[in-house]
Amino acid sequence: MSDNHDHGHSHDDGAVHPHIASIKLYVGIFLALIFFTVVTVALSLIHLGPLNLAIAILIATVKAALVVTFFMHLKDDNRFNALVFIGSLLFGGVFLAYTLNDTDRRSEVDHVQGAYVYEATGERAPGGRPEVERPVQPASGEAHGAAPAGH
């Protein structure tokens, strides 16, 4: 594990030899972070539709990458620590993607239960996509009752 700690010149005395970055670098990273913060606020004031969210996340990710790489020293750190970090991000992504794939598409796949409206209020249930929505049945029980189940 310790072999990733040398930076060109190898020490094998068992001591910790950190890569000490200059104050200039840290202040530079800080200024870049402030710059990106101003940019993200400015861009949020321009209406770009769905692009706004994409840009906001992109800029946040650039800022996060700067913090992780330089402030958190992943650049000079043991690579295994980077693997742990990126691995958790990947699994967070899997969590988000699979969950949204479910919650955003329930109305497409849930024809059997007809989950377009709340039974109690008749209000449109979340997750329905307008282009595939069937006409709302006034009394939610009726449609099911009329089905040829007969038991």
Binding site: V16, Y26, L33, T37, S44, I59, V67, N78
Partner: protein, 248 residues
């Protein structure tokens, strides 16, 4: 690496806690900061770092649940989220972003001065980091009290007072699911704020240890680890700010 180990092992682990820099020739295990189950300082350092990164990974996965909740509800109620987001104070949110980024800078510089063995400078930088954390909480307090005052609250408590709403949404109907946004808003910023409060506690603890003289240019791992935690708190906020405050 191996010579130090074998000699220490051969010498029955005799009284290694008594001097600061044990030398191989005297048969001491190593420096006082080295726990006896580690062979070398670098092994101890790598182990501590890995443990911290595993903890941070767990933190990310913990917050992931909240981010997924945010994603689901924003995708369900985009207009409600846009309306609710406009009720937040971008100026205060932006100010808090800058405060946290600055505190991350001072935390990173604290690690740097600890690596150089500059105890006094490390202490000052840790204190500045703590002051920024308090600044963040004070701004958050003003934001929260405005939300309470305006009835911008989670779930069924969502009952906005039209006189206290943002000018940018004047004339727009109050959305039915604004309470969903504010549930997520208070949960995400609340749990994040809790991390800030815990951060104040642990940074203060490390400051005490620094003043006590626990750290040297050879041993500064705890300063490094507490800074990693603090950067993670910053990292979460980097995403919370645009996702909550800057919805078009």
């Amino acid at each position: 690496m191996s010579t130090a180990h074998t000699e220490a092992a051969a010498s029955h682990d005799s009284g290694h806690a008594h001097d600061a820099h044990g030398h191989d020739a005297h048969g001491h295990h190593g420096p006082t900061f080295l726990a006896h189950h580690f062979d070398t300082p670098v092994q101890q350092f790598d182990t501590a770092k890995l443990g911290m990164w595993l903890f941070l990974a767990q933190e990310l996965l913990f917050f992931a649940g909240l981010f997924v909740a945010y994603g689901i509800y924003r995708s369900w109620y985009p207009e409600d989220f846009s309306w609710a987001s406009h009720q937040l104070d971008r100026f205060m949110g932006g100010a808090n972003t800058i405060v946290l980024l600055f505190s991350s800078l001072t935390a990173a510089l604290a690690v740097r001065s600890a690596q150089l063995g500059k105890k006094e400078q490390t202490g000052i930088l840790l204190l500045v980091t703590i002051v920024c954390a308090f600044g963040f909480l004070i701004i958050k307090y003003f934001e929260y009290s405005h939300k309470f005052h305006a009835g911008l609250l989670p779930g069924n408590l969502f009952n906005p007072d039209v006189h206290h709403l943002a000018a940018s949404t004047a004339g727009l109907p109050v959305p039915a699911h604004g309470g969903s946004f504010f549930g997520i808003y208070f949960m995400m910023t609340g749990v994040h704020g809790l991390h800030v409060i815990i951060g104040i506690g642990v940074i203060f603890w490390i400051w005490l240890r620094n003043q006590r003289g626990d750290f040297t240019a050879e041993y500064w791992t705890p300063v490094d680890l507490v800074a990693l935690y603090w950067h993670l708190v910053d990292l979460i906020w980097i995403y919370l700010f645009p996702l909550l405050y800057l919805i078009d």
